[in-house]
Point group: C2
């Protein structure tokens, strides 16, 4: 126990120390390290793939599901993709030193608000080992130090990645503690890290609801997170009949296992029955299991009864809850009750309905006449993303490099004193 406490306290204080160096590094230096990282990932590819093969073998022996093993797997093509994403991050503009606000007072005092790194970030995530590299690259680019705590299933792959990251940092003469990968699966480590308010500025957990709840319960450090995405599409009576069905299909079927996929479809009671049936036909033909309220069941034979729990369910699967609501007010009321603040969409030509929906639905992303699947950092043009936030402080929706910065007030005078 004492060893873990010491290890945790070392991780924190070394990260804090390193954060002071990376904070002051010029952009060219940060990008140089990223380019080396991309290069070494390919150079050391065999070592990484060999380590990953051992993780995979152990996972198979332990009977992990095929989906979990697939998430764990690094192939040569995937490794190339990971290296490419590091190069992309190197090519993005500097998130630091942006002038966010500027005022000059009558007495000549200049007041500026400037973006700066957050400091030390603790990333906690599950099986996908590519998050190790994404996390390291995004934090380095944004001048932050990071402590990476990946899933135990990926321990050997992450250790191989850590070695490559260390090599890139050493070669760039950057303090190696700028990126530290936790090398123990001991769960008590988190108890120590999550209370190290002196050295760690923010915690970003990525993973299932259980992991995130546990982190929020234990942490004394601010946490940026999203629990789950129960995303709605509301089809208004004024919806464009041509695009409605393709959007609904895309939002449910294109990749049902992700957080911005639609989980509940809200149909306006004044929607033409033919259009409503057409939408449900297409979903049924895509083998989407439909559950719904009585009015939805009356619309289509393949709709079976929904339980109360269905309206709060994140299926992450080819299953959909369908409800008939009374206009945009009914839709908003349902979303207030059951939404998770992730992404909600309205399909409507009526400007009044669009405006009301956007003004009253309090979600990170509100989508008008397009698929919920667009709620993503890459699709929003932010380059890479750290994750998604359903919180309201600091960062909301897709989180890119900017979400890894805060700001500082810089005040420049010529001897002014306060009256």
């Amino acid at each position: 126990m004492l060893d873990i406490a010491n290890y945790a306290s070392g991780l924190g204080s070394q990260a804090r120390q390193a954060s002071r160096q990376v904070r002051a590094l010029p952009l060219s230096k940060r990008n140089e390290a990223l380019k080396l990282l991309a290069k070494y990932l390919l150079q050391d590819g065999e070592t990484i793939l060999a380590a990953n093969a051992k993780d995979i073998a152990l996972a198979e022996k332990q009977g992990l599901t095929a989906a979990m093993i697939d998430r764990l797997l690094i192939t040569e093509a995937r490794l190339k993709g990971i290296a490419e994403s590091v190069k992309t991050i190197a090519s993005l503009p500097d998130p630091l030193g942006r002038l966010l606000e500027k005022r000059t007072r009558k007495d000549g005092l200049k007041i500026r608000r400037i973006s700066v790194p957050i400091g030390v970030i603790l990333f906690i995530y599950e099986s996908r080992p590519n998050v190790t590299i994404d996390g390291a690259a995004l934090c380095l680019k944004s001048g932050n130090a990071v402590i990476l705590r990946g899933g135990k299933e990926a321990a050997l792959t992450n250790a191989a990645f850590a070695a490559v990251i260390g090599r890139a940092l050493r070669k760039s003469k950057i303090d190696e503690h700028a990126v530290q990968c936790v090398n123990t699966a001991d769960k008590s480590l988190l108890d120590f890290l999550l209370t190290d308010t002196k050295n760690i500025d923010v915690v970003i957990p990525r993973g299932g609801e259980r992991l995130i709840t546990a982190v929020v319960e234990k942490s004394r450090i601010p946490v940026i997170k999203h629990y789950k995405g129960v995303c709605h599409i509301y089809v208004d009576q004024s919806a464009d009949p041509k695009s409605a069905a393709p959007i609904v299909r895309n939002a449910k079927v294109q990749r049902p296992g992700v957080c911005n996929a639609m989980e509940t479809l809200l149909l306006d009671s004044r929607l033409k029955p033919a259009l409503a049936r057409n939408i449900l036909d297409i979903l049924a033909s895509e083998k989407v299991a439909l559950v719904g309220d009585k009015k939805a069941m009356a619309l289509h034979a393949s709709v079976t009864p929904a339980t109360d729990a269905d309206w709060d369910e994140e299926y992450l699967d080819l299953k959909l809850a369908v409800k008939v609501v009374d206009g945009v007010d009914g839709a908003i009321e349902h979303i207030h009750r059951h939404g998770t603040g992730h992404t909600d969409a309205i399909l409507a030509k009526s400007a009044k309905a669009q405006k009301k929906f956007a003004a009253e639905v309090d979600s990170g992303s509100v989508i008008i006449n397009a698929s919920t699947r667009f709620a993503d950092g890459g699709e929003y043009g932010m380059g890479a993303e750290v994750g998604t936030s359903t919180d309201k402080l600091h960062a909301r929706g897709p989180m890119g490099l900017e979400s890894l910065t805060t700001y500082q007030w810089l005040v420049e005078g010529k001897g002014q004193i306060r009256a």
Copy 2:
């Protein structure tokens, strides 16, 4: 206990409900309510002053200090000042609906990031009853609902303020639960409110370190706060000899009891002894008790030995810790060790020293060649302020109306689906 639980849960759910109305109010409606509030504060002045007189009488009976009683006191002039500040808030530009970012994709999808209210705010504060009105006015202007929990010493004054606020809301036809003043001193109420993550979005505690620590310990809701301000001024060898002493005097003496007053003076070891002595002379002549390290003691007879604890002390009084450091590096090292991230200043003509200090000192405000006392919402031109944050997520330094908003991504399409 059950009653308090019910009361707390009612406060939360009523606030959430009201927040949905105020979020959608046009600016004119929010400003109308504020102007009525300012008017009624003066109309109902006698009732307010009478309630305050009872609070004051009880405080005197209970032997509160003169300083505490002064903070509690509302005079006719102070009441006018409070009404004026409400009028000022009404005159400020709308913090909502600001376009923060905009992109149009090749497929025509429009992506905007727009400022929106946070939702429901819980304000917890101590004796000064004017915070009740400031908090209500700032939250209403920014489209938030607020739960106000003031100090028990000000219970009757706050109840009188609550009545005036209610009158303004009713007259404007705004849900009265948009501003709720807690009417019990029962401490268990906070235990319930601070875990109501469903209905409350952010907690802002204002007060002593003990209050803030207790809130952080208990809260499952994000907290924006500042514990204390151990503000430093570093006088570099390149400092302007004319303005250095007046700035140092202003930062320590003009109002020593506030968080942006200087608590530690760092003198460059290469500073001309005559200038260092001149600065200490002026402080001594202002009756500032000086404690310092051996080198500081060697500079001036009135410096007595500092203990280790002095470097972390927020005196809030005419007392100052003085240390001789080796250049800007020595100053930065000291601030890294003992700073609280509030406000730190450098007095230097050297652009290199200024740049290094600004790049490496990670505080909410960094001041160059001016007094730390400027670190204030009013002085920064933000109009009213909610408080100051030494946190890094969301809001930092002086917090104005903007700090009571977050943003929402608004995506507008013409049927786009994701490939």
